[in-house]
């Protein structure tokens, strides 16, 4: 099902990357592209491929790290105006609107108590919403809960397992619970992919914490869900297992499963996600393509502390998009490190030509972390 060999993946990656852009721009030439991709993967560059490359430059780097399925843009989960007020009167979710696209990895990032688990639990039917709607592939999670839930696998944040059952019993139970006929071969594959096969007859309480987490993943996958929720899959997991987990998630995605994961680690979102949503105090404060965020990450600012304050930007500098800050004491120039030219030399030249002197010069780089901290601060 998942976990392909790496050489095969390399090829696949290359092809799919092209397919993806292709699908967006050259819908009519589907067969043609297939041929050209085959060619390009052997080293020949067709005209079409060059064209595609140009497009890819304009749109930024496509998701290279993922052996990706084409990123479908139609939403598989639609959350609209969802709110949740707990019994004690605490409002954990405030009018959440969110769409999860089919086939993507969506990372929900937020500090402790932001409402990540509440949001996931509501979609999965563990928490009654106080208002709003959620639909999963068009099925309302309340009026059509069977159809909606059949599609979903959930790996909870807490390690809750049936201590006395064996691994095999517990995953067979999970499959049956979701109304699926027994399928030894499939379950065997799931366990093998999660390297749990040799533990299949052991009682769960004899497994290590990392193995228990994988058992929970196996349980969630036992009924062949199309959507997988992972609530902090790498919390309390060592570096090696975290890498394993990422690998598992990627291969699941390449088998067509839509994945929604929550995390505190920006690194994780950066590493894994196609899109990132940031939630704070029950509100979604930002949803964006990871690549867009990364592009902002590539942005740097040059800050010049001026000798003499400026009232307004001199006309000579109008083209550079500089801004005045700190009551005219500072000039800020934002540039893109990924661009071919930063324009710094020109700017400095222009400055000296117009007689603007500065006493200090700084550059700052924004990271996803900064974006995150900024957003979280602004909503407090």
């Amino acid at each position: 099902m998942f976990l392909q060999t790496s050489s095969y993946r390399g090829l696949l990656e290359h092809k799919q990357e092209i397919f993806m852009i292709y699908e967006r721009f050259f819908h009519a030439y589907y067969v043609g592209c297939k041929k050209s991709c085959a060619l390009t993967s052997c080293g020949a560059k067709s005209a079409l491929h060059l064209k595609l490359e140009n497009h890819s430059k304009k749109r930024g780097t496509p998701m290279q790290k993922h052996p990706s399925m084409p990123p479908y843009t139609q939403p598989i989960i639609r959350v609209s105006n969802l709110s949740k007020t707990y019994g004690g009167g605490f409002q954990a979710l405030k009018n959440i609107d969110l769409e999860i696209r089919q086939g993507e990895i969506f990372a929900l990032l937020g500090p402790n108590g932001a409402g990540k688990t509440t949001l996931i639990s509501t979609i999965c039917g563990l928490v009654n919403p106080s208002g709003g709607q959620v639909s999963v592939d068009g099925h309302d999670i309340i009026t059509d809960f069977r159809a909606a839930r059949k599609m979903i696998g959930l790996v909870p944040q807490e390690l809750a397992t049936d201590a006395f059952s064996s691994v095999w019993t517990t995953i067979s139970f999970s499959r049956g619970l979701f109304g699926k006929k027994p399928d030894r071969a499939y379950l065997e594959k799931v366990l093998k992919d999660l390297t749990l096969w040799d533990k299949k007859d052991n009682p769960i309480m004899t497994l290590s914490g990392g193995m228990k987490r994988r058992v929970l993943i196996a349980k969630a996958l036992a009924h062949e869900p199309r959507i997988l929720f992972l609530d902090e899959p790498t919390a309390g997991v060592d570096v090696e297992l975290r890498r394993d987990m990422w690998e598992i998630v990627r291969s699941l995605r390449s088998s067509g499963v839509t994945i929604i994961l929550t995390t505190h680690y920006i690194e994780e979102a950066q590493e894994m996600a196609d899109r990132v949503g940031i939630i704070n105090k029950g509100e979604i404060v930002l949803v964006d393509d990871k690549d867009n965020l990364m592009r902002q990450l590539g942005r740097k600012q040059l800050i010049l502390d001026l000798h003499q304050p400026l009232d307004s930007i001199p006309p000579e500098l109008a083209d550079y998009g500089v801004e005045i800050a700190d009551n005219g004491q500072q000039l800020i120039y934002t540039y893109d490190t990924t661009g071919e030219r930063t324009g710094i030399t020109k700017l400095l030249q222009a400055l000296s030509e117009s007689g603007i002197r500065f006493q200090d010069l700084n550059t700052t780089k924004s990271s996803l972390e900064d974006i995150f901290v900024d957003l979280v601060k602004n909503t407090t």
Binding site: C124, F145, L154, G179
Partner: protein, 253 residues
């Protein structure tokens, strides 16, 4: 109806019972034997008959009821309380199963276990006294209705309880006294008149009376009343379950 899911829950619960089969069967068998030795032999030698039935035999229906009631409640309450306690309930709650199916799975398994127990006690008793059942159909009917009703009650208690004390308290402080005072070991016309009236408010009396009638055709109250009462209990439990289902009480936040 997701029968595969009901079956999964049922079998999972039965497997859990299977792991503790030895403990769960040995204790009622031992306690039944003790009752027969102590009450039947020691006391029974002084009260030779009640209503024309030898005292040891008279005890049997009450003893079975005592065990069925307490076991049904504790099996079913524990069955649903435990996953709530460990957190594994999340899976059942997020599965494409209705509350009805969850109830069928858990309560069905608890009731089955109690039924097996009832039969075990009957077999143990046959070692001490000659068993005679006047109305086997009604005996089985009372048996089945009782385990279902009280497993439902246990399920409700298991959902209501949010700690182990609460889980213990109902069987201990409510059920056991009701069974003891409900004529398990005596006929109520052996009591003073005022107490007879008080006893009529004890719902368990109707169960034991009806059940005893199915064995020996003697009863404290008429069989029709007994049957009505058990149906009323069942109805009340179903109503409560329906309400839990509607509100998600203690299961959903």
């Amino acid at each position: 109806m997701n029968f595969t899911a009901v079956k999964s829950i049922y079998l999972f619960e039965m497997a859990r019972f299977g792991r503790t089969l030895w403990q769960s069967l040995i204790s009622p068998v031992v306690s039944t034997s003790l009752y027969f030795v102590v009450f039947g032999a020691a006391i029974g030698s002084r009260i030779d008959e009640i209503g024309g039935v030898q005292y040891g035999a008279f005890l049997l229906p009450g003893l079975i009821m005592l065990n069925l009631l307490t076991q049904s409640i504790s099996n079913a309450s524990f069955g649903i309380y435990f996953p709530k306690f460990t957190g594994t309930i999340y899976e059942v709650m997020s599965a494409p199963v209705s509350f009805l199916e969850i109830v069928l799975g858990y309560v069905g398994a608890a009731a089955t276990k109690s039924l097996i127990l009832g039969i075990m006690i009957l077999l143990t008793a046959s070692l001490f006294i000659p068993i005679q059942i006047a109305h086997p159909f009604w005996m089985a009917f009372f048996l089945v209705m009782t385990v279902i009703t009280f497993s439902l009650l246990g399920f409700i208690i298991g959902i209501w309880a949010d700690n182990f004390e609460k889980l213990q308290i109902v069987p201990l402080l409510v059920i056991t006294p009701l069974v003891f005072l409900g004529g398990s070991f005596y006929s109520i016309d052996m009591l003073p008149e005022t107490w007879q009236t008080v006893t009529l408010f004890n719902p368990v009396l109707y169960l034991i009376s009806g059940f005893r009638w199915s064995f020996y055709e003697i009863s404290d109250v008429s069989v029709g009343v007994s049957l009505t009462m058990i149906m009323v209990f069942l109805g009340l439990c179903l109503l409560t379950i329906w309400w839990i289902f509607k509100t998600g009480y203690r299961l959903k936040t």
